[in-house]
């Protein structure tokens, strides 16, 4: 009996030791893994590119991707530890930080260009200035809730004392709304502003008080000097992580950041334009034909510039502008100094 027990014990010990060795070996040979949540939005494109083109793998990182349709769920997954990093709108991130969350901007990739949101007028009308909007029906994607571009345009209109009739119109239905006469003008974001103009349904109102490109939303922030002759608009397409992740896995965090910088460089290469559109369609496609998707993705990418810096620099000044503006909208509990938010173990502002 005792001999049998010894044999069984020995066999178990061998199995356990063997399993442990296999586990260690697999850990040593397989890439380090990180879980990332994205949401169906072009702000997640750098992550999708880094995965699909192989930049994560090239940096020795394996990525477990969890796709969400809404940024709220991606943020929830990050804040509860369901994933180690996530993309979601900066307003939500700054709200969470303002409420006490220890979020850090792991990497910021994209800046917006004028033309991201524009005031359109119906093709058969002669609306050339803000004053021409007097008593006109003007569409906004949302009337009662947070729609930042809507708010920027509404305030630009308010400043000249013009009275309008606001109407809620989903961006993607703007062409129908113009054709049906539901609205005479509308604030519309990419890609639907570009598509409406291309289709001859509407034209862009280029009142200089709406800023360059007729984009009051981008103009609201102004350009931010980045220390060179260039200027940037605002940091976006952020990948967020909790501070604990950066402290406990700094090497992995840095590799993730480097892979996103690789993705940004790839996105900047005009030769990759079609491939970039294909990836965007694959992950963020919605209602429409493939022909629509190609036009829409091209329009979205035409007003995005993919800046990125492998040393961890982010456009903190642009982010600060956002935080100040959100505070003005009472979306933040208190003023934020975003430099702490963008700090990383390898970057000191």
């Amino acid at each position: 009996m005792g001999r049998a027990i010894r044999i069984v014990s020995l066999a178990l010990a061998i199995v356990i030791a063997g399993s442990a060795m296999l586990l260690v070996a697999s850990r040593l040979s397989s890439p380090e893994s990180v879980s990332i949540a994205t949401y169906r939005h072009s702000g997640s494109l750098p992550v999708w590119v880094a995965r699909d083109v192989g930049f994560f793998a090239g940096r020795g990182i394996g990525v477990k991707l969890v796709e969400f349709s809404g940024g709220a769920l991606a943020a929830h997954a990050l804040l509860t530890g369901g994933v180690e990093a996530a993309t979601f709108p900066s307003v939500l991130a700054l709200q969470k930080v303002s409420a006490g969350a220890s979020l850090r901007l792991l990497h910021a990739t994209a800046d917006l260009l004028p033309g991201t949101s524009q005031l359109l007028a119906r093709a058969d009308l002669n609306i050339r200035s803000l004053e021409d909007l007097q008593d006109r029906t003007v569409g906004f994607e949302a009337l009662e809730s947070a729609c930042s571009p809507c708010e920027a345009f509404r305030q630009a209109i308010d400043r000249v004392g013009v009275r309008i009739v606001p109407v809620a119109v989903p961006d993607y239905k703007i062409a129908d709304a113009f054709r049906a006469g539901t609205v005479e003008a509308a604030v519309v974001s990419q890609p639907f502003n570009s598509l409406a103009v291309e289709d001859g349904v509407a034209y862009v109102v280029r009142d200089p008080r709406l800023g360059p490109g007729g984009d009051a939303a981008v103009a609201a922030f102004g350009s931010v000097a980045n220390g060179s002759s260039d200027s940037e608009w605002l940091a976006s397409a952020g990948l967020w992580a909790e501070e604990a992740f950066l402290k406990t896995r700094p090497a992995v965090a840095r590799k993730v950041s480097l892979a996103l910088a690789d993705a940004a460089a790839w996105l900047r290469d005009p030769g990759n334009g079609q491939a970039a559109r294909d990836i965007l369609i694959r992950y963020a496609g919605g209602l429409g034909t493939m022909e629509f998707f190609h036009r829409a993705s091209a329009a979205v990418l035409s007003t995005t510039t993919w800046r990125s810096y492998p040393d961890g620099y982010t456009d903190w000044q642009g982010l600060q502008a956002q935080a100040d503006a959100y505070e003005g909208m009472r979306l933040l509990d208190s003023p934020l100094d975003v430099r702490a938010v963008v700090s990383t173990p390898w970057f000191e502002p």
Partner: protein, 377 residues
């Protein structure tokens, strides 16, 4: 130190930032605009499915109301039409195998017949309901018995004490979609019902409870099928559940969209699988989509428990709206028009960490009588 000019902008409250503007249209919630299928027009996009008793009295428990809504975020003043090519189907499983035992097939027609005196510019459409049972209910081309025939925008009495309404109605769904997208937090000062003031195209079909079979426990889901040429489109619709004709020369009906419970495809299925999910059949859901659903559930659970995720996935799949018709309806037992399904599902998926969106009801009152949904804006 903040640049002064920028601070002034903040004080002015001028805000920009949708980050990089989305390629994704606004509505993406219960099932609105959930599919990436190329070429799908809004009249073939299911927004919501409901199954409920009209009240709690014994008489009301003897009726089941089935609702299929399409055409999300229809603006007031617009009068969209149902597709005359599509087959709109509400399917009922009566024995718990996630296979249709009854199918109600709704088809629409624009043609004016010679026995009709309506003006040519009449915006109404003819509507026909067929009831398919047994094997016919499982076959897209199965033959059925005509249960009602009439016009859109009017109440039609069908056979066997059934009632039909098809037409424009207020969208009964309520949700803070912008918070879901992440443009602000749930329940902050920006909370609003994104669907307030918008309409949908509704099919409301009321039948006697007893007509749904002997078992009180049913499962309900809806599908939309469109005819497609059977030549070069094979690679456009991935996944299972296609309804092929045998004859290659014929057109075939392809399932474009489907929905049982709210938000299953929208929230728990990855983008690359959404078209396959929409084209699929509920009975295949556990085999085809459980791993995807589990991955999402683990990430959303504050404790990230695989066992809980697996258990929940086995409840949520197959994606059918389960309904014990012997009891009053209230989500998750069926789905009534006023049920706050978003609060229920957010709380369930996040184990209470996200208790809801603070939008607790529709923007207009529902009707106390058929067709129950409020008139359009």
């Amino acid at each position: 130190m903040r640049p002064k000019a920028r601070h002034a902008l903040g004080v002015a409250g001028v805000v920009a930032v949708l980050l990089v503007v989305s390629l994704v249209p606004l509505g993406r919630t219960a099932d609105h605009l959930d599919q990436p299928f190329p070429g799908l027009p809004p009249e073939n996009d299911i927004t919501d499915v409901y199954a409920f008793h009209p009240g709690t009295s014994e008489q009301d428990l003897g009726k089941v109301v089935l609702v299929l809504n399409v055409h999300p975020l229809t603006m007031p003043g617009m009068s969209p039409r149902f597709s005359t090519d599509a087959r709109y189907l509400i399917k009922v499983d009566t024995n718990g195998d996630a296979v249709a035992d009854i199918a109600y097939r709704f088809t629409f027609d624009d043609d004016d017949d010679d026995d009709d005196d309506d003006d040519d510019d009449d915006e109404r459409q003819r509507v026909r309901v067929e009831t398919l049972r047994g094997r016919n209910a499982r076959n897209s081309d199965g033959s059925g018995r005509t249960s009602a025939r009439g016009w859109t925008e009017s109440i039609v009495r069908g056979t066997g004490n059934s009632w039909l309404f098809a037409g424009l109605r207020d969208d009964p769904f309520f949700f803070d979609l912008l918070a879901f997208r992440g443009l602000h937090s749930f329940c902050d000062g920006q909370t609003a019902d994104t669907f307030k003031g918008f309409n949908v195209m509704s099919i409301v079909w009321q039948v006697p409870t007893r007509s749904l079979g002997k078992s009180a426990n049913i499962g309900v889901w809806a599908t939309i099928e469109m005819p497609m040429p059977d030549d070069d489109d094979d690679d456009r619709v991935p996944g299972p559940g296609l309804t092929d004709d045998d004859d290659d020369d014929d057109e075939r009906f392809v399932q474009l969209d489907r929905m049982g419970r709210p938000a299953i495809n929208t929230v728990l299925i990855s983008t690359g699988n959404k078209a396959a999910f929409n084209a699929g059949a509920p009975k295949d859901d556990p085999a085809n989509f459980k791993s995807d659903v589990v991955a999402h559930l683990i990430a959303l659970d504050p404790m990230h428990r695989p066992a809980r995720a697996d258990f929940l996935a086995s409840i949520l799949l197959p994606d059918v709206l389960t309904f014990d018709t012997s009891a009053p309806s209230a989500f998750l037992n069926g789905r009534g028009l006023s049920d706050d399904v978003i609060d229920a599902e957010l709380s369930l998926l996040t184990d209470g960490a996200l208790p809801g969106d603070c939008v607790d009801g529709n923007d207009v009152a529902f009707l106390g009588a058929f067709p129950y949904l409020a008139p359009p804006h």
